[in-house]
């Protein structure tokens, strides 16, 4: 008697659980770093929480610090746990995500920062290249030595694009300045970031920018009273006197858009082959700033207003130029783009003919770097 009672309860539980699974959307996230990195993974996780708040019926789960080699095993676990949408948030997850998409044709996959897609796998990116140019303008105005340092993670197209946009900005103000790059070959390694930053300052670089997922470069620069640019999240609080500006991201606009479209049936596991988000300042996926609501640290405003540059034969202050371009790229139809030709690479090869803008595909596959970038650049075409 007792036994049948229990079986009945268990069956009812299993049934209701199964129903809940069907009715609800479960989105799962695979992160490459720890959430506490203050950078990339932190930003993705903030967006995950924002999406959970914004979309009724959505549950989420995440796995942090996943090595690319463990991607497929992690996907297996998540799918078994009932995930119907899986976001993989690192370039290195691209191929394993594609493999997972083939293995689970009913699950929707979304890969950040890559370019390979499938009927059930879309790609998305909140890209900083325009913002990097604006920061480059400020770095060019503020450097006294004409040497700007850059602590860089990996020599992949994303970083080459960002460093090049930054260097184009630096040189637009200060044509003889250089952007000196040190690769640390890690997304997350505060120890390497610290020593790379120290090495750059020892070589005379008096402004630092970086792509690494912690606030280490900002902290290290401030220790030696060197201005720096915040990356990914607000790092203003780490050095309020030395963070000039930076790149800020808001992934939540992308996540909410994707998940709503999955929920209302716009996106299915059959129609994602050509879905690629390439969201910029116009879509409010990225912002310029030392922190949200502060595009430029007021402490540096006087110096940036005093510094001038020539635009179309006219002298304007760097501050005004930054603000003008920032306003433009936030508008519904931006007129300006940093990668508008003619652009030659640092070896003198013409990469973008006059009057033409680089396409998203070209930006995603970019291997060359702009003039002014100094240092070894792996996979650079001659």
């Amino acid at each position: 008697m007792k036994k049948t009672w229990w079986i009945g309860i268990l069956a009812a539980l299993a049934f209701s659980f199964g129903m809940a699974q069907q009715a609800n959307l479960k989105a799962c996230f695979i992160y490459v770093g720890p959430i506490g990195d203050v950078g990339w993974t932190f930003a993705h996780d903030e967006a995950r929480r924002a999406a959970e708040k914004a979309i009724p019926g959505l549950t989420t789960q995440y796995v942090e610090s996943v090595k690319p080699a463990d991607t497929l095993a992690t996907v297996d676990r998540l799918v078994a746990g009932g995930c119907n949408v899986i976001f993989t948030t690192s370039f290195d997850f691209m191929d394993p995500t594609l493999e997972a998409a083939k293995k689970y044709p009913e699950v929707i996959f979304a890969h950040a920062s890559g370019f390979k897609r499938a009927p059930n796998m879309l790609t998305y990116m909140a890209d900083f290249y325009q913002i990097y140019y604006l920061n480059g303008l400020m770095a060019g105005a503020l450097t006294k030595s004409g040497k700007v340092g850059y602590v860089a993670a990996f020599p992949i197209p994303e970083l080459k694009r960002h460093i090049s946009a930054f260097a184009l900005g630096v040189r637009a103000v200060n044509p003889r300045a250089t952007v000196n790059v040190k690769w640390i070959n890690a997304w997350f390694d505060p120890v390497k970031a610290r020593e790379a930053a120290e090495a750059l300052m020892a070589e005379g670089n008096d402004i630092l920018a970086f792509t690494e997922d912690t606030a280490t470069v900002v902290q290290t620069a401030a220790r030696r009273k060197v201005p720096s640019f915040s990356h990914y999240n607000s790092m203003y609080k780490y050095a309020p006197d030395y963070v000039v500006s930076g790149q800020l991201v808001d992934w939540s606009v992308i996540y909410i858009d994707i998940l709503k479209k999955v929920q209302n049936g716009t996106y299915t596991p059959k129609n994602l082959q050509n879905v690629d988000y390439w969201w910029l300042a116009r879509e409010k996926a990225v912002m310029l700033g030392a922190q949200v609501g502060m595009p430029i640290n007021p402490k540096f405003e006087p110096a940036l207003k005093q510094a001038t540059m020539v635009v179309n034969g006219k002298r304007v202050s760097v501050y005004d130029r930054v603000m003008e371009l920032y306003k433009d790229i936030q508008s519904p139809n931006p007129k300006w783009d940093p990668f508008t030709g003619p652009i030659r690479d640092r070896n003198g090869v013409l990469r973008v003919p006059a009057g033409r803008k680089m396409t998203v595909k070209e930006l995603n596959e970019m291997q060359w770097v702009a003039p002014g970038v100094v240092g070894p650049v792996p996979d650079e075409p001659k």
Partner: protein, 289 residues
């Protein structure tokens, strides 16, 4: 000249946590106990130090933070001590487990401290000088004191030490706890001084380099000073020389590990395990040979 001084300063700054952790490992290994949990103990120390420094806010709490870090390291090490000294389990397995438990626990408990800034940043040099002073002190203790003799005899020949009336287990426990305290201190240096903030994974493998350094310097505290500075210099140079010389920076990055392998190979060729204590890694059972 300025370049050389700067490189030396970087080598000392990076070498300080290595040296502190390495001295701790030398201490417990000289007493015959290997503890591969250095990385985990460093992570716990880094978190404990940061949590106390942040939690107590304002100034004048550095000592408290450092004390908390050393305590956290010592407690974790005592766990290793209980498993390996009293229960006589395999020291290598227990140490590896301690690394994982330490990293995991620190990551979990550290969630609420992630990304917080620490404004009261202590200078680096007192730690560096302190670490060098500690190395000298340890060398002196090992060579010229009764305490050092007892410690070394426990690591070389515990049975003989036991016959002489030395309490082998007590000495080993004390050495393991002290080693853990130093690993915790090395972690606190990272989260309070070297990179003042807490992030999961911030020990970045330094604990493992410290373990390798013990072998590289042949269990000598004095040589540990030079070893740590040398490793620090190599680490800095991989970035400083990047793009300046034709040698790829990966060569510099792998040099510390290559050197350790080379030293191990050479000591193997000479038919001895360097200066490794005779009873290293072996649990002591009274009355057994």
């Amino acid at each position: 000249m300025e370049e050389v001084l700067n490189a030396l300063a970087r080598a000392l700054s990076f070498g300080t946590p290595l040296l502190i952790a390495c001295l701790g490992a030398i201490l417990n290994e000289r007493a015959g106990v290997v503890n591969l949990g250095v990385e985990g103990m460093m992570a716990l120390g880094a978190l404990a130090g940061f949590a106390v420094a942040y939690g107590s806010g304002g100034d004048g709490n550095l000592w408290l933070a450092v004390l908390a870090a050393m305590l956290a390291g010592a407690l974790a090490a005592l766990l290793h001590g209980f498993v390996t000294i009293t229960l006589q389990a395999n020291q290598f397995v227990s140490g590896l487990a301690l690394t994982m438990v330490g990293l995991g626990t620190a990551g979990l408990l550290g969630k609420r401290f992630e990304g917080l800034p620490l404004f009261n940043q202590p200078p680096e040099w007192p730690f560096t000088l302190g670490a060098i002073g500690l190395a000298l002190l340890l060398a002196l203790v090992f060579q010229a004191t009764h305490l050092g003799l007892s410690l070394r005899s426990v690591g070389e020949n515990p049975a003989a030490a036991d016959l002489l009336g030395i309490h082998v287990l007590a000495v080993r426990y004390a050495a393991v706890a002290a080693g853990g305290a130093l690993a915790g201190l090395a972690g606190a240096y990272l989260s309070l001084v070297y990179r003042p903030s807490w992030t999961d994974g911030m020990t970045a493998g330094l604990g493992w380099i410290a373990v390798a350094l013990v072998i590289f310097v042949g269990w000598s505290p004095i040589r540990a000073v030079f070893g740590a500075v040398f490793f620090g210099l190599l680490y800095y140079l991989q970035f400083r020389l990047q793009g300046q010389v034709a040698i790829p920076s990966e060569v510099f990055a792998s040099l510390p590990y290559l050197l350790v392998i080379l030293v191990l190979a050479l000591s193997g060729l000479r038919g001895q395990q360097g200066n490794a204590p005779e009873a290293l890694g072996k649990p002591y059972r009274r009355g057994e040979r």
